[in-house]
Symmetry: C2
Subunit: 533 residues, 2 copies
Amino acid sequence: MTELEHRTPDPVWNAWGTAEAASPVSGQVRDLLEQGLGVPRRDTPSVPRSAVRLGESRLSEPVRAELNRIVGAEHVRTDAESRLLHAGGKSTPDLLRRRAGDARAAPDAVVLPGSPEQVSAVLARCAELRVAVVPFGGGTSVVGGVEPERGGFDAVLAVDLRRLAALVELDAESGTATLQAGLRAPEAEELLAAHGCTLGHFPQSFEHASIGGFAATRSSGQASAGYGRFDAMVVRVRVATPRGELDLGRAPASAAGPDLRQLFLGSEGALGIITEVTLRVRPVPEEVVPEAWAFPDFAGGSAALRELAQAEALPTVARLSDEAETAVNLAAAHDVGGGQVAGGCLLITRCEGPRIAVRERMRALLEEAGGSSLGAGPAQDWERGRYRGPHLRDALLDVNALVETLETATSWSRLQETRDAVTAALTEALREQGTPPLVLCHLSHAYPTGASLYFTVVCGRGEEPVEQWWRAKRAAGAAITRCGATISHHHAVGLDHREWLTEEIGELGVEVLRAVKSAVDPVGILNPGKLIP
Amino acid sequence: MTELEHRTPDPVWNAWGTAEAASPVSGQVRDLLEQGLGVPRRDTPSVPRSAVRLGESRLSEPVRAELNRIVGAEHVRTDAESRLLHAGGKSTPDLLRRRAGDARAAPDAVVLPGSPEQVSAVLARCAELRVAVVPFGGGTSVVGGVEPERGGFDAVLAVDLRRLAALVELDAESGTATLQAGLRAPEAEELLAAHGCTLGHFPQSFEHASIGGFAATRSSGQASAGYGRFDAMVVRVRVATPRGELDLGRAPASAAGPDLRQLFLGSEGALGIITEVTLRVRPVPEEVVPEAWAFPDFAGGSAALRELAQAEALPTVARLSDEAETAVNLAAAHDVGGGQVAGGCLLITRCEGPRIAVRERMRALLEEAGGSSLGAGPAQDWERGRYRGPHLRDALLDVNALVETLETATSWSRLQETRDAVTAALTEALREQGTPPLVLCHLSHAYPTGASLYFTVVCGRGEEPVEQWWRAKRAAGAAITRCGATISHHHAVGLDHREWLTEEIGELGVEVLRAVKSAVDPVGILNPGKLIP
């Protein structure tokens, strides 16, 4: 086992990132908000830490004693800081609540187990003691996945997995690494880089998210076209449940019945706590070729990506912004190829590793499909800012704006219809509330049979911004469902998408999930209220 | 919906194939058996049809009346021919039993529903009436998957899906086709070819197996390196259960919780009957480039395939025979490149469609890894005989030989160890019984993290050949398990691998499967005794 000498710093309680990563929006952006969207120029800062309302911990002494026995007293925390840092995730409603001083949802304690065995022991004991457990990795859920709901129990613990932070094994011949679930993504990359390897998993949450969280939510990274979704990298998964351990996956592929790994990937802490994952790794690429392209419109750009996906000629990164997102990106960074894409759409590509070999075919297909190369510049710009989005949201929330994102995926044949329907639903629902939005969209995960759509919404903040957003979110969810698309391509279900899951998998599908939960968590202590309607 | 004008002919009751496909072994092969393996020259033909023992149907009149009501009386069959043709699968023990005249396992009736709705209605009614149901597609299971076990119920039905034989929808833009489960593979290919498409799924069972069977058993075809395993092609699956329908999969990828499709892929009829599948399809390739290669040994050849898989340079077909299989293939067809691979290993490759583009990289990597091209000839020979194996088994069973196959998959780092252990276990177990075998092995499915191993065993037939084989099979299963490999890469679990599943997924994994079964099939009528230990 290899361990790290230092750790990724924690984000602050009321923002996506660390204090160091914060930077206020420019006057120019404030002008744009005011002139473009009619957002009144007003500061809307977070309350100070001292104004945060945090209830008393309800952890009883007998429960604390049991936890102390299992993980050691120093790893059972009930101090206000620890509880506040585990009070919820990082959706805009989450941040708005905490910025307004409301952290009443904070867990009664934070427990930090030091081994998979300790995780199992904590779960078994919590089931006996009837204490709810919320697994906590990087805490970057934007769907309410780490909300510390008690679910009818007296107390709720956040089980923070940060001490499970080892590279357990690297099998260089098979190209696999076994990583503990609490490793943050940058830490995992650092450990693998020492062996010349990478996961190639770079979602926007990269700076803070954890390996276990990626697995539990079926995360997908910006380089998914080349490296695949996180779930597709998983060879083996080790899961602790109140009824014991599961260790699933013993071959690159198997016909030994249903693939039970696929029940625990995406299980969001409701069916167990993932403690260890064996993943496919690749050599760190020696060569990287970024290139940006202009397309006349989104339909043309997405048709080009469909061609690439179906011809097995996708680059490592493929990300197509719609007209609105392209225009905003250009306004934000006018050195980004400027007028060349004015009125059109920007496609970012990046070839690395084995995908260098498809580059010429990719270029030919993109040109044939109506694309014009803009060279490396805009692709390099994108790369520099690839994790900035949620930090920018922090800054925008300070200046009277409401910003949030949502995403879906569907077949190629329903992609345009779905984009139009979701854009219209968001626009209409916010306009009705007197806050006409800007709705941006991009396609960042292309598959042979379809693609993802990612929406960013910016508008003025209403009187009740949480409810304001929820009206828009409900309209978007209804549009997604109506179009037959999935309620989430890579954000997961959590609390926020629960109401749509029945439509997606059917009543009987929900009963199947409940049956699985009963088998592994008969008392129902695992992440109450998440995932299962 | 598009339907076919003609249908694939049924195999005969006591052989893999049709009467037309049968051909006796040559005198030369009989010489080889006698001289090489000490198999006494003796004819061991099947009993004639007239000598087959088939019990009376136990279908009660009230049950028959209910089935008649749902599917129509002409689709409820209790005649001896229909029952005999559904009396079991096509493993060597299955064939040996029927060739000896034992068809007592035959189902009490064969029911042929005409729509997914009728399948659901049959299941719901059978659960009320307490009648067991065995789904039947092509009947090619080699693991006891279609054995008509009553499981404690009074009667057992084979539900033959042949009337579900339509191409329901072709979405050319998304590159998907929705196919009904009863379509045999050649029929599905014919329907798709009319649209210029193919599934690219060509397992050795291709001539008879069905779309539903491929999905229910996680089949893998000979072109899996290029087209992927069958389960990887599935976008959507529609399943009938006694408790209603499931319709799962609405996007190319999703983070909406666990992937429930993966519970029903590989469910082997024990969790429901798959009635319809939406699959990725590709254009029929315009160009096909076959090429054979010689490698000094199996370890070198498999290292080369590992390189290809990890460098994303696999051809469409990649099949490496070990030294023994190479020698036998050469003896069987001396026009196959002759002395060039004597003592070494033969690798068959075939590039088609998008894989034409990787051909030069593939060639360079194979040469670098010590391979020498043998040109197209041996690869074309392989292709001509690609479905012959099981027909040859029929002929060998007629001349006092015992022939069977088994398979597994494991990581690259444990591949050689697993091959050696399984080969030794089979050899030892059969030698002990006085029938020293020839054990052949090939690697036909390569993945970035590991590969499959497929074993063919030939020896003289003992007094009790079913038990003789089972001793060898148990030794091989123990070796596979000891090596940490999977008990099946593409044959599924059925009856025959059930005893090893607990080792593979753990007691709690088995409990999860039981919980799912209880949710969808509380009475337990679905394919009793299969899959779940």
